[in-house]
């Protein structure tokens, strides 16, 4: 009890210094948490992917489409339980800064393959019967204020013209990591419009899709079924490349790997700066109290007791900073998420990030006390007492 009392009172002895150190820890822990959350958001697509879902795309590049007729051939492969397709639309809502992903989908099959998108039955029926209807994610609806019945105009960048869609359904995510910032509409509507444009020779090919999403019976058959799909279309006009949904999502992350690595490095640099601040505080504290530590030693207190006082004070400061920092990470990331809109579909502080923040603060608390504790253990009582007066 006296030990804890001493630690607490010593911690509060220089309120300004302790307060500023705690403030430094809070800022560093929040910054660390925010940066880790950004990194997590980068990988959210891969994290939210299913083990039993494969993605088939054009072997040359994602930019090149695949024929719609592949769908029925793939469906017949043993082990495939469901198949659907999606095509990137790339439209602009009002201005370029309002980015969100838009896909032309096979309305009848898409939500069977992606059961994590939760839509009320009445709304899905309304979507299915309206070829100009669309389904928007809850985050998207909240960000832009979309409601059922609203018209959403998109200016096509790949497909020219202004496309108008009516919101027929708003989907929620089955899990926190489900992307609820997407926009879906009927591929049939897109394809028919392109057919008309083709007739006028103003559009690209028709009856093509961007990617196929395939559900398989068992996750351990992913490689086997992927090989079967790709073998089926080898030497065809549009060869395929099939991979797990996670690998597919990670291929996007790989394109921006350098940014992710930079953010990761900065997040650890923040912790190193924090360590320097904390170590400086503890070194100053121990230096000022050398006389007191020498007195305690003279009275018979052991090196371990004195080291405990220093470690305790360092940990107390780190603990308070960590708790406030972790708690503040939530509103700060929420504010950040608001600012970046739908750029990061899933943006939330993960449990892993909280653990890492706590571990970082704990490590800093321990490490910052190592040198002062060692110094106090080594200093002779006579030398220490000489510093008084």
């Amino acid at each position: 009890m006296h030990f804890l009392k001493l630690i607490l009172r010593n911690t509060l002895r220089h309120k300004l210094r302790s307060g500023l150190t705690v403030l430094g820890i809070i800022v560093a822990i929040v910054a660390f948490g925010l940066l880790r959350t950004v990194v997590d958001a980068w990988y959210s697509g891969a994290e939210g992917s299913s083990d039993t879902r494969l993605i088939t795309r054009n072997a040359i590049s994602l930019v090149f489409p695949l024929p719609i007729k592949y769908q029925e051939r793939i469906r017949k492969i043993e082990g495939v339980t469901a198949i659907t397709h999606a095509s990137w639309f790339g439209g602009v809502y009002v201005s370029e800064k309002n980015f969100f992903p838009q896909f032309a989908i096979d309305a009848k099959t898409y939500f069977d393959v992606y059961p994590e998108f939760l839509i009320p039955p009445a709304e899905i029926n309304a979507f299915l019967i309206d070829r100009k209807g669309c389904v928007v994610g809850r985050k998207l609806a909240d960000t832009y204020g979309f409601e059922i019945g609203d018209t959403v105009p998109l200016r096509g960048t790949i497909y020219p013209g202004t496309w108008r869609f009516t919101v027929r359904a708003i989907y929620d995510g089955a899990e926190a990591k489900t992307d609820i910032s997407q926009f879906f509409f009927h591929w049939d509507y897109l394809n028919e419009t392109r057919k008309k444009a083709t007739a006028r020779k103003t559009s690209r090919k028709t009856d093509w899709v961007g990617v196929y999403a395939i559900n398989i019976s068992e996750s351990n058959r992913a490689a086997e079924i992927s090989n079967k799909v790709d073998a089926m279309f080898r030497n065809s006009l549009a060869e395929t490349r099939t991979e797990t949904e996670k690998a597919f999502q990670l291929s996007f992350v790989a394109m921006t790997e350098a940014i992710v690595v930079a953010i990761r490095i900065v997040s650890f640099v923040v912790i190193l700066i924090l360590l320097a601040v904390m170590a400086n505080t503890m070194a100053m504290t121990a230096r000022e109290r050398i006389g007191e530590y020498a007195t305690l030693k003279a009275l018979g207190f052991s090196h371990h007791f004195l080291a405990g006082l220093i470690y305790g004070e360092s940990m107390a400061i780190a603990f308070v900073g960590a708790i406030i920092g972790i708690l503040l990470t939530f509103p700060v990331t929420d504010k950040f998420s608001e600012q970046v809109g739908t750029l990061f579909p899933v943006f939330g502080v993960s449990l892993e990030t909280i653990y890492m923040q706590a571990i970082a603060a704990f490590s800093v608390g321990i490490t910052a006390a190592v040198f002062p504790a060692y110094r106090v253990a080594q200093i002779s009582i006579v030398e220490g007492l000489r510093s008084i007066g």
Partner: protein, 230 residues
């Protein structure tokens, strides 16, 4: 050299030197001294004469280069750091010139501090501290922090802390050096009482001839050598 049967402190041919700026400076040279139990001895001498060093050696917070140093029959120079810490906690009470109280602890808590190294219960510790406070006349100030006490009061707290564990020896390094004449007189009176009523052996380093007169025995140190003068 003095020879006393069963002295509480037995020093023979003691030497001590320090390394300062690459040079070895001899502080104590061939010191021999026996202090009987229950004695009140004052060590006097000019600055740098080695009196504080001798006190530190007797108190077990420094180690001699050579010679014999026995306190209570134990050759403390042979004890390890851990053993010395335990030995000091049980046998030595420290009184410093600048009191050396913990500024974050109250008078009560400062006095209680050495008792934390004992097996005494909280209740027993409280009784001991209250008794010690009354002995130094500070019962009313037990909840005060050192910064709220005068120099004399702080030194009285330090004295209470020194004898709270009932040690064999009290070592006092310039206990009145930072005090006015009145406060110094009060401190010396308390030390005298501890010696006469509680039979504590007191070894006091002082510059002050007035303080030294309180002791039964005065020993002078000059350039690291003991000059025997009663």
């Amino acid at each position: 050299m003095e020879s006393i049967s069963n002295p509480i402190v037995h020093i023979k041919h003691l030497t001590k030197s320090y390394r300062r700026g690459g040079q070895i400076v001899s502080v104590l040279t061939d010191i021999s001294l026996d202090i009987p139990s229950g004695e009140f001895i004052a060590l006097m001498g000019p600055s740098g004469s080695g009196k504080t060093t001798l006190l530190n050696l007797i108190a077990g917070i420094d180690k001699p280069d050579s010679g014999t140093l026995k306190v209570g029959g134990i050759d403390i120079a042979t004890l390890s750091e851990g053993e010395l810490a335990d030995w000091r906690a049980a046998n030595i009470g420290f009184i410093f010139q600048f009191y050396n109280l913990m500024p974050v602890l109250t008078a009560f808590e400062n006095i209680e501090l050495p008792l934390l190294l004992t097996q005494l219960s909280h209740k027993k510790r409280q009784e001991h501290v209250e008794l010690a406070l009354s002995m130094v006349g500070l019962s009313e100030r037990m909840e005060h922090y050192p910064s709220e006490l005068s120099g004399g009061e702080q030194q009285r707290v330090a004295i209470a802390r020194a004898f709270i564990t009932d040690p064999v020896i009290l070592v006092a390094d310039e206990p009145t050096g930072d005090l006015d004449r009145v406060s110094a007189g009060e401190i010396l009176a308390i030390l005298k009482r501890l010696n006469s009523e509680m039979e504590k052996t007191i070894i006091m380093v002082t510059h002050d001839p007035y303080a030294a007169k309180t002791a039964h025995l005065i020993r002078h140190l000059e350039k690291g050598e003991l000059d025997v003068t009663d």
